[in-house]
């Protein structure tokens, strides 16, 4: 008999327990081969069978060695509940089951002496969402008829770039009574109100990145939807930088400046301007924390694109050398505007925070008119890798913060000057059109979504602790990994097709939302079209309460 050791880990301590039915198992080994986390292993069990032959009890025992599949008891190779084993098992003999009695948050810290890291989203309060209490309640009737969603022309586009107030437009009446432009104005691009962003080429597998690039090119060139993809920090393959598809790409620079060396070197060879530049100051899912790309994901091509050795790549939490908003406007914005000769809009992405409105106010008053967009990222966004404590406990929800920024602009008569883009968990229910639409009515010009795009590609993670292993480099479906065998699980053409189809469906849904409120262009700030069934939310967002 073995001694009981209280400190030993059992599978009952882990988040997920693998249920295995030896009687159905054919011992093909597929599950063990497929589990990228090595959370199950082949093992031989010693079995004892007691039997009796003859008419009277005459117990004898027989020992046998039986090969079985067993869950690994480890805080390193623990089961993530991804369900890949279940997917590959021909006999339904194995699969993960959520363990409500898990002690993982305690034992992991006790044994590792390190903070827990993971990918995915915030896993607390996953079900309660403000947007779910909001509906589009002003349906046109009689005198203000609904439009025909399939017949009318709808302008489903949003601005990216600094918009001048009317009195600053350099327009004068010419001899023929027509307005003539006397000076250049800041560049503004009208793009689809949903940006795919901003997941870096290090965080994602090359196939995933390629799939997104294919989807975006197809949406633009075949479907007429000017969808843009934001690169995330970490550079862009040189071939893409030199190609004409660069125009669909928003290049991101963040505090680590990863990949910018190559971008700058490629500039003379670019045949198109990029769609825009996004300066990332912070990320909603882990505000105050910089990027984190663990060494296991820094594959050779990532080292080449980023110009780094194989090592943990940490972006500092802030841009070194920027101490004030005024300084950032002058240094970063001006230099990036100048780099592309003021032809490319430059925007900023910040984490939603109690101070976001002040930041926005400062930017909206910038006298240079060069801040071309304010990207506000809420707590519910996803991340490739972060400390769980940041993911779960820091950050600020996006909905009220976006509304605050919009209303701050309204109170100064500056709405629309700096387009507002909001993100952070939008569409996590799968209904991105409806959520984007509500955000637009609350004042966003457009929204950005990343995690949902991974879900389109086949990500099995969710907010209830399933998978969320994006940081490990072992993504079981080949999305957030650089392991060749895993990456090959992803079929880029099919992923691209899924993304394209999702956008086409969403576009149709936008029309279905615009038509009943009688609008043919996006109802930015039209909060009178919204109603809330929760009084506190209605009051906070200044929309109508209904019951």
């Amino acid at each position: 008999m073995e001694t009981m050791k209280a400190q030993n880990i059992t599978t009952n301590d882990l988040f997920w327990q693998v249920k295995y039915d030896a009687s159905r198992c054919t011992l093909c080994g597929s599950c063990v081969a497929a589990c990228s986390f090595r959370a199950i292993e082949c093992k031989v069990e010693r079995r004892r069978m007691v039997f009796s032959e003859g008419d009277y009890p005459d117990p004898k025992s027989r020992f046998s060695a039986v090969p079985v599949i067993r869950q690994v008891n480890s805080v390193k190779n623990f089961c993530r509940g991804c369900g890949i084993c279940q997917k590959v098992c021909p006999n339904d003999a194995i699969g993960p089951v959520r363990n409500p009695d898990t002690r993982f948050p305690v034992i992991s810290r006790c044994l590792m002496g390190d903070s827990i890291k993971r990918g995915g989203r915030k896993n607390l309060e996953g079900d309660h969402r403000a947007l779910d209490s909001i509906g589009i309640g002003r349906i046109s009737q009689m005198t203000d008829p609904s439009l025909d969603a399939s017949r009318h022309t709808f302008d489903i586009l949003a601005p990216f770039g600094r918009i001048l107030p009317p009195k600053q437009l350099p327009l004068k009446v010419g001899a023929d009574g027509k307005l003539e432009q006397t000076e250049r104005t800041p560049p503004v691009r009208w793009i689809y109100p949903v940006i795919i962003g901003d997941m870096s080429i290090g965080a994602l597998s090359w196939r995933m990145w390629e799939a997104m690039a294919i989807a975006v090119a197809y949406l633009n060139e075949e479907c007429g939807l000017p969808v843009r993809l934001c690169s995330g920090e970490g550079g862009v393959p040189e071939r893409l930088l030199k190609s004409r598809y660069l125009k669909y790409l928003i290049l991101q620079i963040a505090s680590g400046h990863f990949g910018w060396n190559r971008i700058i070197k490629t500039m003379p060879h670019m045949t198109e301007d990029p769609a825009g530049i996004l300066i990332k100051i912070g990320q909603g899912a882990k505000p105050g924390d910089g990027g984190l790309l663990l060494a296991q994901k820094v594959a050779e091509h990532i080292q080449a694109i980023r110009g780094v050795p194989k090592a943990d790549l940490l972006s500092p939490p802030n841009h070194q050398g920027l101490y004030s908003i005024e300084e950032s406007v002058q240094k970063m914005f001006l230099s990036f505007n100048a780099a592309f000769k003021f032809r490319v809009p430059v925007a900023i992405k910040v984490a939603a925070s109690a101070t976001s409105v002040s930041v926005f106010n400062n930017l909206v008053r910038d006298p240079y008119n060069i801040v071309g967009g304010f990207f506000l990222d809420g707590i519910d966004g996803g991340t490739g890798a972060a400390h769980e404590v940041s993911l779960d406990h820091t950050g600020h929800p996006i909905v009220s913060k976006l509304r605050d920024c919009y209303l701050a602009a309204v109170s100064q008569g500056r709405q629309g000057h700096i387009p507002l883009w909001a993100g952070g968990g939008l569409g996590k229910t799968g209904d991105l059109a409806a959520e984007a639409f509500k955000m637009i009515c609350l004042g966003a010009n457009g929204i950005f979504a990343g995690k949902l795009v991974l879900q389109m590609a086949g990500c099995v993670g969710n907010d209830r602790g399933r998978c969320n292993a994006c940081n490990t480099g072992l993504c079981p479906v080949g999305i957030t990994t650089q392991e060749s065998a895993l990456v090959h699980r992803l079929n880029p053409e099919m992923v691209a097709q899924n993304i394209v189809n999702y956008f086409l469906a969403m576009d149709k849904e936008f029309r279905k939302l615009l038509a009943p409120i009688g609008n043919s262009s996006l109802p930015v700030g039209r909060s009178d079209a919204l109603v809330a069934t929760d009084k506190a939310i209605a009051d906070r967002l200044k929309i109508q309460y209904v019951c």
Partner: protein, 368 residues
């Protein structure tokens, strides 16, 4: 729903014509009110074209407050006119004690001021009066501008006409341009200020329809000009946008259409003037209307115009003879006023044009 109409003529005519025009369209509105603006005045006002006239409906105290304020500001009264009323039992009208039209001389220090400066003090004065009268619910100031009269009242338009003796032609009370609308704006409260035509610094606008971007318009307009106030009706936004585009930005009238019903992006991208149109669309995105409506407007120089929403969900028709141009929501109105016109020449403006009428009654159709 509202019905709107306008008559412009080479000759002075009496408001009875506009009552006729509106009466024939009465099935289309709810008979809950009547409002009109008379411009380019004849009759007893003819000799005072350069002096501002105050249009006021008020209590006795309101009249005193207003006159004291005007006096204190240095305005001297030149003319006082009160329409003779005809109270009868059974009339459906919600009356005020006094209806006053008074013409004033500018304060001495402004007599040589530029038209622009004069325009500014007139707005300031009207806003001051409005505020002072609002405080004790003492009355309504509709306009204070040279050569312009405004009359608004709650009730049945036919009875309102009877009350003010406006069914009977009177050569002392005439104008060359009259715009009118029946029905109070009942989408919101019944307030006298909510009835269009609305007037600001020589600009008049009345509309039939809805402004689904009302909230966006209001939130933006509040910060644009001190005179953009009230917002008792969603149609007021149309006036303020016209004033902003034409008076503040000094852009020609066609750009009003580009602001309120911008071309789709795809069409803009094919135009020679795409840079300007895009700059306008993005900079003034919050002044877009995006709802079903027809607008009739008058510019300070007397140009009368009409245009519709981009989806043409509201009708308007323009009929004319040598001496008259009539704009109305329904053709029955035009038939009533101009029965002998060549109806084949009537114009039904489309969703992408502005039809304007100059002071020689020449009609221009301008395509967006």
């Amino acid at each position: 729903m509202c019905r709107i109409g306008a008559i412009k003529s080479k000759n002075y005519f009496h408001p009875s014509r506009i009552f006729l025009l509106m009466q024939s369209m009465q099935k289309g509105h709810d008979n809950s009110g009547f409002a009109m603006v008379m411009q380019d005045l004849g009759g007893i006002f003819k000799g005072f074209k350069n002096y501002p006239t105050l249009s006021l409906a008020c209590t006795d105290e309101g009249l005193k407050i207003a006159e004291d304020l005007l006096h204190a500001a240095g305005f001297q009264r030149l003319l006082h006119y009160e329409p003779k009323t005809n109270p009868q039992p059974g009339l459906d009208i919600n009356t005020m004690p006094n209806y006053v039209f008074e013409t004033f001389m500018y304060p001495r220090e402004y007599q040589k001021a530029s038209a622009k400066e004069k325009g500014e003090i007139l707005v300031n004065m009207r806003l001051t009066l409005r505020k002072a009268l609002e405080e004790g619910d003492n009355g309504y100031v509709y306009s204070f501008w040279p050569d312009v009269l405004t009359l608004k009242e709650i009730g049945n338009p036919q009875d309102i006409g009877t009350y003010f003796n406006l069914w009977e032609p009177d050569k002392n009370f005439t104008a060359r341009i009259i715009t009118a609308q029946c029905r109070q704006n009942t989408n919101y409260d019944i307030v006298r200020y909510a009835a269009h035509p609305f007037f600001l610094q020589g600009y008049t606008v009345l509309a039939n329809g809805e402004n689904t971007f009302y909230l966006k318009n209001v939130e933006f307009q509040r910060k644009l000009h001190r005179g953009y106030i009230g917002f008792e009706s969603d149609s007021q936004c149309f006036l303020y946008t016209l004033h902003y585009v034409h008076h503040e930005l000094e852009w020609p009238l066609p750009y009003y259409k580009h602001v309120i019903t911008p071309l789709p992006f795809e069409e803009i991208s094919r135009r020679d003037d795409k840079d300007q149109l895009l700059a306008i669309r993005q900079s003034l995105a919050h002044l877009e209307i995006n709802g079903p409506n027809t607008i009739i407007g008058v510019l300070p120089d007397g140009t009368l115009f009409t245009c519709c929403d981009a989806k043409k969900l509201r009708p308007v028709v323009v009929g004319r003879t040598d001496d008259y141009v009539v704009l109305a929501s329904e053709v029955c109105g035009v038939n009533e006023v101009l029965p002998d016109r060549k109806w084949e020449k009537d114009i039904y403006p489309n969703e992408r044009e502005i039809v304007s009428v100059d002071n020689n009654l020449e009609i221009q159709r301008w395509k967006q």
